[in-house]
């Protein structure tokens, strides 16, 4: 595991709009993030199972498996993964359900990249804190 402040944020983008994933990836990569993009729930879970990520940007409405279902499973695979939901409409139900399942934020499309980036950084900080907390607990315990 890398140490120090220089580790790039590992971001996973999940959205069935392929072009959105593609362009967002380019723009966020240009801003120093490590980005992977997938276009469906099952693909997302496969990737989450395969390698660790810090933050996931998750579309709510996708054909087949929706974002809420992905969130539920993803949290089981990587409990520390920070999830930001990205939705096309302000569905109170989905927002409440997402938050209940541990999503950090619920952003509306079309989101401003600066806002998204700010949330991602915030999420990353939160994850680092949780990791440190876990590590110190483990040390105290052992």
């Amino acid at each position: 595991m890398e140490v120090g402040m220089t580790r790039p944020i590992r971001l996973l983008i999940v959205d069935d709009e392929q072009r959105l994933v593609e362009t967002l990836s380019k723009r966020l990569t240009a801003r120093g993030l490590y980005v992977e993009g997938v276009h469906s729930g099952p693909e997302a879970l496969a990737v989450i199972q395969a390698r660790p990520f810090d933050v996931a940007l998750l579309d709510v409405r996708m054909p087949g498996m929706d974002g809420i279902a992905v969130l539920r499973e993803a949290k089981k695979l990587q409990p520390l993964l920070q999830v930001i939901m990205l939705s096309g409409n302000a569905s109170i139900n989905a927002a409440v359900e997402g938050m209940r399942l541990g999503a950090l934020e619920y952003l509306l499309k079309p989101a401003n990249l600066d806002d998204v980036l700010a949330k991602i950084e915030e999420a990353f900080k939160k994850k680092r804190l949780e990791e440190e907390h876990l590590a110190s607990q483990r040390q105290a315990g052992g």
Binding site: R19, T23, K26, R61, G64, G88, N89, N93, L113
Partner: protein, 371 residues
């Protein structure tokens, strides 16, 4: 659902009227219900005596008169005994005269009560239809807003990417040039996509204007389907069309019939949400009209629920997802033009709703645009 709470309260008040009038005509209705009726607790029978109860009393009175007359006649016959004069007929004639005198106003009263009931029912459904149409316009608008937000998000990122490249300096490089051209092309693609979406909203507005009396069912089914397309896709529902060509135009207004189809398709969609499935739209000619079937491969309707699904406010959906209005309103709409709406379903085997609509008369009306 986008029902305003005031609107909702009004609906709840109306269901009480509806239920009391229905309860009067069929005594068993209203007893022993288990499933949820949206927004209505079972408290509070309507305080005013329903017109239906008065009607029942009147019918009872009218039916009691002939036996009473017979009884009188029999009594008279016994009293005077056989072989007597024809005088025993006097009370019989008197009784019949009384009955005729009573029957006439009573029959008129029954007719009045019946039309009053029918009118009350119509008013009830007209109001429900108006309210639910407002609600479903809200739904359509929200669905369209959602559909529009995806192309908007893409356009924003494409524009942002161009700005990123411009900030990067080297604008002359072949790679940068290609990137910019590609982004601009993508923006154009998304604009076209957005235009198609707004077109749908315009379409909705246009069709809502009151208009023709006869409708091309296949065309209307396709247009209605278009409204739900992205939602169906998102829910993993495959659509199969078995539309018979060359059908007669049917009686009825396009906005109302579209509401019927939309309700049935939305129910099919709701039934298959999550697990996906197939929705089949089928049409075929039937004696003097057209038969439409909307079938799904969802979980079907349990026997205990199926007898209630056409009752206003009966729903098995969450409070903010179902109003229980779709089916009763739909049935009222098709019955008003002389059609029928029915269902076949078994638990675990999907549901099949069928609508029959009589062919519209080809009136030589205004003359313009005659087909």
């Amino acid at each position: 659902m986008y029902l305003h709470s005031r609107v909702y309260a009004k609906m709840v008040a109306m269901i009480k009227i509806e239920r009391s009038s229905r309860g009067a005509l069929s005594p068993e209705a209203g007893a022993g219900r288990r499933a949820r009726w949206a927004g209505t607790a079972s408290h509070g029978r309507a305080a005013t005596p329903p017109p239906g109860r008065r009607l029942r009393r009147t019918v009872l009175a009218l039916l009691l008169v002939p036996p009473a007359c017979l009884l009188l006649s029999a009594l008279a016959l016994l009293t005077w005994g056989p072989g007597g004069s024809l005088a025993f007929l006097i009370p019989v004639i008197a009784a019949l005269a009384v009955w005729a005198a009573l029957a006439w106003p009573l029959a008129a009263r029954i007719r009045r009560e019946l039309t009053a009931l029918a009118r009350q029912r119509d008013a009830f459904y007209e109001e429900l239809l108006r309210l639910s149409r407002a609600a479903s316009l809200g739904e359509v608008a929200s669905s369209i807003a959602h559909d529009l937000n995806n192309p908007l998000a893409i356009m924003r990122e494409e524009a942002g990417w161009i700005q990123d490249l411009m900030r990067g300096g080297d604008l002359q490089g072949a790679h940068t040039q290609a990137e910019i051209a590609n982004a601009l092309k993508q923006i154009d693609i998304q604009i076209e996509r957005s235009r198609e979406i707004t077109q749908r909203l315009l379409q909705w507005g246009r069709d809502s204007a009151p208009q023709t009396e006869s409708v091309d069912v296949n065309l209307l089914l396709n247009k209605t389907l278009y409204l739900l397309e992205s939602e169906l896709q998102a829910a993993g529902v495959r659509v199969v069309k078995e539309l018979s060509p060359g059908l007669a135009q049917v009686r009825g207004g396009a906005p109302e019939l579209r509401q019927v189809f939309l309700n049935l398709m939305k129910n099919a969609l709701d039934a298959m949400r999550g697990q996906g499935g197939t929705m089949t739209l089928a049409t075929r000619p039937e004696r003097g009209g057209v038969r439409i079937e909307i079938r799904d491969t969802g979980p079907g309707i349990p026997a205990a629920a199926i007898e209630h699904i056409f009752e206003p406010f009966f729903t098995t959906k969450a409070a903010n997802e179902g109003t229980g209005l779709g089916l009763p309103i739909s049935r009222w709409i098709v019955e008003k033009v002389g059609g029928t709406l029915g269902v076949e379903s078994r638990e675990g085997a999907g549901a099949s709703f069928h609508v029959t609509l009589p062919a519209g008369e080809t009136l030589p009306d205004t003359g313009s645009g005659g087909r």
